[in-house]
Symmetry: C2
Subunit: 437 residues, 2 copies
């Protein structure tokens, strides 16, 4: 290995993670004189901001995903490996891979430069035992699982004769009132009040309760207070009940236990809990941190230098939700941050100039059901239809692939006009087919 | 119960199965003075003839499915129950349901008239131990499982360093050269030669072998010999190797064992086997037969009267792949037969006139890759581009829902122009989300 690998031509850049950050890093190196290897355990990029629409049957899984190989097919210097990362050996400069598609348990991938962008997941505040009863809304698997459960809950209510149990089946609890939780709660309410209303005979799906649980004193805490208030009003109009200053202290198969600000406990019978709270960094952050003998912060993030490199390792970079920048304010866990960081890392690798990363906040958007959204764009606060059109345009532009854009636009047009949702199928596992004909 | 329930107004018709036959029966009763209850264990109708296109990443699961409730939402006299059928009690006139969505293990559903249309599945010639290594291509679950396996096989070949193993990963075996097997083999060849060719760096996906195994002496035995020959030639041009007069005598995780007409055995190393052979009727046929003390035929079908009613039970009807009509020639296991039988049953129930069922054969179609198909329409034999356009039109017309039709048409246009396949994601189970972030 040369002493200054970052200027040697033809060097090997390994990018771990095909999310927003990793993809931008890989694509930012397309005309650089390097070889790029992108490693991911999925063969697709997931457009996470729309995962909640898969969960409510608005979109299909395929429409918010793009195969990584397709994204990089025109990039001559890039290749893709499907695998899990088991370890980083920073001294020997190798990434140890696991669970390879051919069944191999281990493969060492040498690098000259390493970029790690593993993203984040929702955590259960240390209560992993809640997970089976409250699928999370960040992965495609979680979204598909939620879709099956939400739709099954209505089916269950239809055949349930006990009034109490029926009410539990028609009670939906969304935990976390960030953009994902707010959007999900709004969609469940619309699903119940518009889409499914004429589908069922023995129940009135419009009587479904949707509770949105938030520990803070307002929804969408990353937005200005005025927009939080507007969002809360729009949610209430849709039939969502925001429960603020309330924390979840227990989740079981048929109930959630809540604690109000005054310390009183309160049980809600429900069969459907959606988890969209407690972000924690990818375990790759922990692997990186321990590789340099450091610790992660409370959210599991690894501390990086202002140029996004690992302390003491200028040849290793990290991006996205899994990093905290030394001496800088915490950045929101949104796609634009990860994308800008990925691009910034690519530039440092390309030019060798170690400029500190600077986040350009282009705005903040959240939609609340049909034709309503809140937006803050460079200080300008918008809410209502115009904000919704902005939301729609921005999401279509950032969705990868012309085909997906067109199909998603068509689905949205259909559901806007018909109030229907085309993807409401209860899809069972693709890995364990039921054999009984 | 009245002595002649089939003429009493407001009587209850239970239809079991939301496939082609069951749906036509239910919809054929929309203006009849009856109550209709459709029972299915899935909440959607599957357009089975295109399931193989989900398996190769051409279409998404959602695009070939329609929620049953959506199909019947405008039919005021119809309702839907999601459940498995456990038993038929013909004396008491009740269907016993199981695995209800609310977790209940049993529900008795009384009927005045019963229609059973459970369809069929592929059987493994009595070798159910082959199933884990050779997913079938009739259910949505099978198609999704196959999609994940086929795409993973290419990923495995890319990282495999042993030349022998790599060749095994790039060998695809399709068992059964009926329309489904032929279409699937053609699509795998196109996937390898066109779609994926530029996606991989270390392998040439165009070297993939696709073997199509058929016990008979020609492919597409339900077509005239001339069209079989043309189809075989078209398959070979695509890179498929039809192996005729060959039977499968063993399937393991890494090989299939074949027996040629001369009795010689022959092992092919492969990691991907697609099962599309050995049709067997739904287990509901067996339940019906044993309810009247009869036996099913060799293909597991129940014998019905010419009006499709069960012998001795004029109030019970059965339709589709799971029935054989007394004294009539065996009908092909295709959607038009099931649909016409469903409509015929609805008419008998509506009018009370017990006319024998008569199948009107409108033709036979099978496509072999991009812009090639064979068709036999009222004696007219077509092959090539015109047959392909016919195939395309017919499938779009019969696909349920304007939205699905438009989206499928768009996907086909995209893949025709770009030779791409938009839905090539390896989608893991929607029921067991991987928790590791």
């Amino acid at each position: 290995m040369a002493a200054t690998p970052s200027t040697e031509p033809g060097r090997h850049v390994v990018v771990v993670g095909g999310g927003f950050g990793g993809l931008q890093a890989a694509r930012g190196l397309r005309s650089a004189d390097v070889r790029v290897t992108l490693v991911d355990r999925r063969n697709f990029h997931l457009f996470q901001p729309l995962a909640y629409q898969v969960a409510t049957g608005e979109l299909s899984a395929v429409e918010i995903t793009t195969p990584l190989r397709q994204i990089l097919r025109r990039q001559k210097n890039a290749r893709v490996i499907l695998a899990e990362v088991k370890a980083f050996d920073l001294d020997r400069r190798v990434v140890v891979l696991d669970e390879l598609p051919n069944g191999a348990r281990s493969l060492e991938l040498p690098y000259d430069t390493l970029v790690v962008a593993g993203g984040s997941a929702y955590s259960y505040f240390g209560h992993d035992e809640w997970a089976p009863f409250a699928p999370e809304l960040k992965s495609l698997e979680g979204a598909l699982e939620l879709r099956a459960r939400l739709l099954t809950a209505f089916e269950a209510a239809e055949v349930e004769t006990n009034e109490d149990d029926r009410r539990a089946w028609l009670t939906f609890v969304v935990v976390g009132a960030g953009p994902t939780g707010v959007e999900m709660a709004g969609q469940i309410a619309e699903l119940a009040r518009d889409t499914l209303r004429r589908d069922f005979h023995d129940i009135d799906t419009g009587t479904a309760r949707v509770l949105l649980i938030e520990a803070a004193d307002r929804v969408l805490t990353s937005f200005p207070t005025r927009l939080s208030r507007r969002a809360a009003r729009a949610l209430e109009k849709l039939g969502v009940t925001p429960m603020l200053q309330t924390t979840v202290v227990g989740v079981t198969a048929d109930a959630v236990e809540l604690m109000a600000a005054d310390g009183t406990h309160h049980k809600v019978k429900t069969r459907s809990v959606v988890w969209a709270a407690g972000v924690t960094a990818s375990s790759l952050a922990g692997l990186l941190a321990s590789a340099i003998g450091a610790e992660t912060d409370r959210a599991g993030r690894v501390l990086v230098e202002p140029d996004l490199s690992l302390p003491g390792h200028p040849e290793v970079f990290a991006a996205g939700d899994m990093v905290a920048i030394r001496g800088a304010a915490s950045l929101p866990g949104v796609a634009p941050v990860a994308m800008q960081q990925g691009r910034s890392i690519a530039k440092v690798i390309r030019t060798g100039e170690r400029k500190p990363f600077h986040y350009v906040d282009k705005g903040n958007l959240a939609t609340i059901g049909r034709s309503h959204a809140v937006a803050e764009i460079k200080g300008l606060q918008l809410s209502g239809f115009l904000a919704w059109l902005t939301w729609l345009g921005v999401h279509l532009v950032y969705l990868i692939g012309f085909q997906n854009r067109l199909l998603v636009l068509l689905r949205w047009m259909f559901s806007y006009v018909t109030r229907g949702r085309g993807a409401r199928i209860i899809q069972h596992s693709g890995t364990t087919p039921p054999r009984k004909p």
